[in-house]
């Protein structure tokens, strides 16, 4: 048992120092990128009908619009400009690190 706790504690310490010494590096950016990817997918299952894909629940997701409206226009553009999945995925790799 105490071994488990010690191991956990060491792991936390490792993560803490890794995070604390990550000066101006990418961790925050990675999280934000992942957040916006996740929200793009979320909006897709809410409003795919605006892109021409019929949705059985589109009536019920309308009431979410006020909270998502700010990003709506950009989201539509992003979805319609998805020409190459490779280019998009390539951009996610951090080649300098």
């Amino acid at each position: 048992m105490p071994n488990d706790k010690l191991e956990k504690f060491l792991e936390w310490m490792r993560l803490f120092f890794q995070g604390a010494t990550d000066f101006g590096r990418k961790s925050r950016n990675i999280l934000e990128k992942e957040y916006s990817d996740e929200m793009d997918n979320f909006m897709l299952i809410c409003f795919a009908d605006t892109l021409g894909i019929p949705l059985p629940i589109s009536y019920y997701t309308l009431e979410l619009l006020p909270y998502l409206a700010e990003d709506m226009e950009m989201w539509e553009k992003r979805m319609l400009n998805r020409k190459s999945i490779w280019g998009e995925k390539w951009g996610e790799y951090d080649l300098d690190a």
Partner: protein, 308 residues
């Protein structure tokens, strides 16, 4: 008799007449009754010879009625969203989104969804207030689709909530906030409220077994076949159908040949009905010589006295 009764059947068999008469019967028997018409034509007003409208009104002792209008409900919903929009986002975006909302009102699924929403609301809010709630439903197919909606929407909403939770967690982590505090997210709140409403109605109707169907049919080929199918589908949902109403039965003493033939055919179909639906109680309503109006409704209501 269960608390919530859906009166269903093929188009034109006399669902509205039967629902109205049954509602009058329940009210006279001392039960506080609510009659809900979901038919866009709203013939209930015509039968009772008075306006009923979009809010619950009292039309007789113990009897309240409402006519749900899908268009009115969806417009109300959209306007509420528009109002909300103004408080949250900038005017330029409001204009963009308003266009999208206006398009949504006329899109094909939205009336059905609005109807489903209002029915859910009535079931959830009025179930304790009334002894008997009678829904005069749209023709068979629609109504049964309505019952399968909660399951389909339920899974959809679950996956939306899971996605949104994940996204909010990531966002909070990126902004050095506590990633486990998700309660204040307005999107999750809305989704949660919808899920709860749907589950509540489903629990009342299916788990607490407060719902039953009564089918109206005529002694003719097609209504019989449709009713057989509908009864079988409801069996899958464990929703009982204990009564059938056979409407428009011809009088016995027919004189000319045409009507004699017709009556012979009717007898054959009546036998078929008794055989096919041996588990159900069958209520027989005669063909009326007058139009169904307010003054005859008590007369027709008498035929339901076997039901309780």
């Amino acid at each position: 008799m269960k608390k919530i009764v859906f009166i269903g059947g093929k188009g034109g068999v006399g669902k509205t007449t039967c629902s109205s008469a049954f509602a009058v019967y329940c009210a006279k028997a001392g039960k506080k009754t609510l009659l809900v018409s979901t038919d866009p034509a709203h013939s209930t007003s015509d039968i009772f010879e008075r306006t009923i409208g979009l809010e619950i009104v009292n039309i007789r002792e113990n009897l309240d009625a409402i006519e749900i209008d899908a268009e009115f409900e969806s417009t109300k919903y959209i306007n509420k969203i528009k109002g909300n929009l103004k408080n949250i986002v900038s005017p330029v975006i409001v204009e963009e989104i308003t266009r999208q909302l206006d398009a949504a009102i006329v899109s094909p699924g939205s009336h059905e969804s609005a109807m489903f929403d209002k029915m859910t609301e009535i079931i959830n809010e009025k179930v304790d207030e009334y002894d008997q709630i009678i829904f005069d439903t749209a023709p068979t197919g629609h109504t049964i689709r309505l019952l399968s909606l909660p399951e389909m929407l339920g899974t959809w909403i679950d996956s939306l909530m899971a996605k949104r939770r994940k996204a909010v967690k990531l966002f909070k982590m990126a902004n050095s906030q506590d990633p486990n505090k998700l309660d204040d997210d307005p999107i999750l709140k809305i989704l949660m409220r919808r899920k709860n409403n749907m589950e509540k109605a489903r629990n009342i109707m299916i788990d607490d077994q407060k719902l039953q169907f009564i089918f109206v049919l005529n002694a003719e080929k097609l209504p019989i076949e449709e009713t057989k199918k509908a009864v079988n589908i409801l069996k899958k949902y464990n929703i009982p159908v204990n009564e059938l109403i056979v409407n428009r039965i011809l009088p016995e003493d027919m004189k000319d040949d045409f009507w004699k033939n017709k009556k012979g055919l009717e007898r054959k179909y009546l036998n078929e009905i008794s055989e096919a639906f041996s588990n159900q109680k069958i209520i027989r309503l005669p063909l009326l010589q007058n139009d169904m109006r307010a003054q005859y409704i008590d007369e027709v209501a008498e035929y339901f006295k076997d039901i309780y």
